[in-house]
C-alpha cells in the first residue's frame, strides 16, 4: 500500500447533497483525510449496527481536506444503486458512518525530476471523482492537463466544472448527446491526445472504458494508469475476492488483488479481455486434471 496507513474511524456525516444523478457525501473523518492521494478509496460500513449487510462499500475519494474546521473531511460521490448505497442515500447530517481509509494504491504522479509531462485524464461517470484532485496536483507540477469526461447522460457526468480550473482542455461526451458530444470518451481521445501531445493517461471508469482507453493510449505511445472497480469483500487485502489477471514485470500473469495492489494499475499490464477468467498460463492456474 502506498500513501497513508489506513485507519478506521467512526465518521460523522457533515453533508449529503445531490450532484446531478449522484449524491455527494462529506464525512468528518480525521485521520483518514490526512494522507489521501488521488486514486485512494475509502470503504464505508452500511446499514447501521443491526444491518444485514456485512460488507463495506468502496468509493473513490473525491476531495480530502485534512485539518481545517472539522479536523479532516473526506468527500465521495456515489450513485444510489443497490441496498447499501440506498441506505447511504438516507443518512442525515450528524449520523455516524464507519470509514476505513485511505485504501489502495493511488495514481503515480510523473516523477518530479522527469519534468512537466503532458497528461490526459479520462473519467467515466463517477469515475471522474478522483481525477479532479489529480488534475490539481498535476497542474501544481506544471504538467499540461487535458480532460475527457463521459457518461451515459448529462446527469451522470461529474466534475466538469470543477476540473476546468486545472485543465488546458475539457471535452465532454454523453451517449445520449444530452451534454457535449454524442458518443463515448474513446471517440474523442485520439484527437485530444494528438492536440495535447499526451505522454501519460490517467483513467477511472467502467472496465470496458479502461480497456479502450488503454488501447488508445498504447496506440499513441502513451502509458495509461487505470483505476479499476472489482467487487470487494474486505477492501484491505485479506479476502482475495477482488482479483484480476495482471501481467507482472516478469511477464507472468497473476491473479492480483485490486484493493491493495490496485485499484490503479498500468493499463497495459491488465489483461482486460480476460477479466472474469483465469487465463491459461496464469501462475497457479488449473491444468487439465488439476485443481478446480
Amino acid at each position: 500500500m502506498s500513501g497513508g496507513r489506513p485507519v478506521q474511524v467512526r465518521a460523522e456525516v457533515l453533508t449529503l447533497r445531490p450532484v446531478g444523478d449522484y449524491l455527494s457525501l462529506t464525512l468528518v473523518a480525521p485521520g483518514v483525510a490526512d494522507d489521501v492521494r488521488p486514486g485512494h478509496f475509502v470503504a464505508l460500513a452500511v446499514g447501521g449496527e443491526q444491518s444485514s449487510m456485512l460488507l463495506r462499500r468502496s468509493f473513490s475519494v473525491y476531495r480530502a481536506t485534512p485539518g481545517g474546521r472539522y479536523g479532516g473531511t473526506v468527500e465521495v460521490v456515489f450513485a444510489p444503486h443497490g441496498a447499501g448505497t440506498r441506505w447511504l442515500a438516507g443518512v442525515r447530517p450528524g449520523d455516524a458512518v464507519d470509514v476505513v481509509g485511505p485504501l489502495g494504491r493511488p495514481f503515480a504522479l510523473p516523477a518530479a525530476s522527469s519534468g512537466a509531462a503532458s497528461c490526459l485524464l479520462v473519467g467515466g461517470g463517477y469515475g471522474a471523482a478522483p481525477l479532479v484532485a489529480l488534475a490539481e496536483q498535476l497542474r501544481e507540477r506544471r504538467c499540461r492537463v487535458d480532460v475527457v469526461l463521459g457518461a451515459a447522460s448529462a446527469g451522470r457526468l461529474f466534475g466538469v466544472t470543477q476540473v476546468r480550473r486545472y485543465a488546458s482542455s475539457v471535452s465532454v461526451t454523453t451517449e445520449d448527446g444530452s451534454q457535449g458530444e454524442r458518443g463515448r470518451v474513446t471517440d474523442v481521445l485520439p484527437d485530444v491526445m494528438r492536440r495535447g501531445g499526451t505522454q501519460a493517461v490517467y483513467a477511472c471508469g467502467p472496465m470496458g472504458m479502461l480497456a479502450a482507453v488503454t488501447a488508445a493510449a498504447t496506440r499513441a505511445g502513451a502509458v495509461a494508469q487505470t483505476a479499476v472497480e472489482e467487487a470487494m469483500a474486505c477492501g484491505i487485502g485479506v479476502c482475495m475476492t477482488c482479483v484480476l489477471p495482471v501481467v507482472g514485470a516478469d511477464g507472468t500473469t497473476r491473479m492480483v488483488r485490486s484493493c491493495t495492489e490496485g485499484p490503479v494499475f498500468r493499463g497495459d499490464r491488465v489483461r482486460w479481455a480476460d477479466v472474469g477468467t483465469v487465463p491459461e498460463g496464469t501462475l497457479g492456474a488449473p491444468v487439465a486434471g488439476g485443481h478446480r
Binding site: S52, M240, C242, V243, T260, R292
Partner: protein
C-alpha cells in the same frame, strides 16, 4: 485470559479465521496481532495457485458467499515471506494447510510443522479429493481420517494438529470422532456451508464457481450447534470454534457451547479490528458474568441443564 488449546497455552482466546486475515500482515494497521491468541493463516497449498475466476463473492443476508478457490503463493513463498514476518512481528501462527490428496497434506505437514513460529496446524479438509472423484475429505469420515493421520505422523509432537470440519454433513460427530481417532489433537469448526446465489439480472449463478461457501452471522446458530454436539459427544477434545462471530457475546455463545478458543472470520471484512474488539468484548462479558478464568466458561452451558430439556429436533 490464557486459553489452553490442546498442548499449547494461547495467551488469549480469540484468533483470526483462515482465509479472512491472509497471513496477518494486512491487519497490522488495524490491530496488534500479538494480542490475539494467534493468527490462523489462509490455507497454504504445496504449489502456487491462481484460485477461481471472478466474481468470487456475493453478499447475502447477514452473510456472504465466497468462492476463492484457495488462491495462494504456495508453501515455499509462505515459508520465505509470510511466516518470518509473523515471527518477527511476535505473533503466533496457526498454519492452515490444504491439499488435493493425502500425500499433499503429508508433504505440507513435513514442510511446515517443524518451522519456528508455528504454534499449531489447522488441517482444512473441505477440499475435493482428486483421487476420489472430487469428494470433499470433510464429508467422508474415512477420507478425513486418512488426512489427519498422515498429517499427525509428519508433524512434531509439540505442535497440535486441528482438523477443520465442514457443517455440510449428516452427522458431524461421526466425522469429528474419525479425525480424533486418527490422531487429531483438536477440532476447528465450522467451515462454510455450501450455498449459492443467483444473479437476478444476468439470470445466472452470481459466482463464477457457481456454488460458494456461506459465512458470517447468518451461520452462527449452525456453528453453535456443531460445537455443542461435538462437545457433548467428545467432552475432552479441544475445540477451536468459529462461524458468524461478530461480537464478544457471539464468541461467548461458542465458548459456552464448548469452544476452547474462537476464530473471527467474515466479521473482519466488516470491521478490520474485529478479532481484537471481539476479544476485548469477550473479556468484559466474562468479567460481568463472574467468570474468574476464561476456562471456567468453556462448555458451561452443558452443566446443570434442567432435566426436562432434552436435545431434540425442530418444528
Amino acid at each position: 485470559m490464557t486459553a489452553p488449546l490442546a498442548s499449547v497455552d494461547l495467551p488469549a482466546p480469540v484468533l483470526t479465521a483462515s482465509g479472512c486475515a491472509a497471513a496477518g500482515r494486512e491487519l497490522d494497521p488495524f490491530l496488534d496481532l500479538t494480542e490475539l491468541g494467534a493468527v490462523v493463516t489462509k490455507s497454504i497449498m504445496l504449489e502456487p495457485r491462481s484460485g477461481r475466476a471472478t466474481p468470487r463473492m456475493a453478499e447475502t443476508p447477514s452473510g456472504m458467499l465466497n468462492s476463492i478457490g484457495l488462491q495462494g503463493p504456495g508453501v515455499a513463498s509462505f515459508l520465505a515471506h509470510d511466516l518470518p514476518w509473523l515471527r518477527e512481528r511476535g505473533a503466533r501462527a496457526v498454519v492452515s494447510v490444504a491439499g488435493g490428496s493425502v500425500d499433499e497434506y503429508a508433504a505440507l505437514a513435513e514442510r511446515v510443522g517443524g518451522e519456528e513460529g508455528v504454534t499449531a496446524l489447522e488441517v482444512n479438509i473441505s477440499c475435493p479429493n482428486v483421487e476420489s472423484r472430487g469428494q470433499v475429505f470433510a464429508c467422508d469420515p474415512a477420507a478425513a481420517a486418512s488426512v489427519l493421520s498422515a498429517v499427525r505422523r509428519r508433524t512434531p509432537a509439540r505442535v497440535p494438529v486441528l482438523a477443520k470440519l465442514s457443517p455440510d454433513v449428516t452427522d458431524i460427530v461421526e466425522v469429528a470422532r474419525a479425525c480424533v481417532d486418527a490422531g487429531a489433537d483438536g477440532l476447528s469448526m465450522i467451515n462454510t456451508l455450501l450455498g449459492m446465489v443467483i444473479d437476478t439480472d444476468t439470470l445466472r449463478p452470481a459466482l463464477a464457481g457457481v456454488t460458494g461457501g456461506l459465512s458470517g452471522p447468518a451461520v452462527r446458530p449452525v456453528a453453535v450447534r456443531c460445537v455443542w454436539q461435538v462437545r457433548a459427544a467428545l467432552p475432552d477434545v479441544p475445540i477451536l470454534g468459529m462461524g458468524g462471530v461478530r461480537t464478544g457475546l457471539d464468541a461467548l455463545q461458542l465458548v459456552l457451547a464448548g469452544a476452547d478458543a474462537v476464530s473471527v472470520g467474515t466479521a473482519t471484512f466488516n470491521d478490520p479490528s474485529a478479532p481484537l474488539r471481539v476479544q476485548r468484548e469477550l473479556r468484559q462479558a466474562l468479567a460481568e458474568r463472574g467468570f474468574a478464568r476464561f476456562t471456567d466458561a468453556v462448555g458451561a452451558a452443558h452443566h446443570q441443564l434442567p432435566r426436562r430439556r432434552a436435545e431434540g429436533v425442530p418444528a
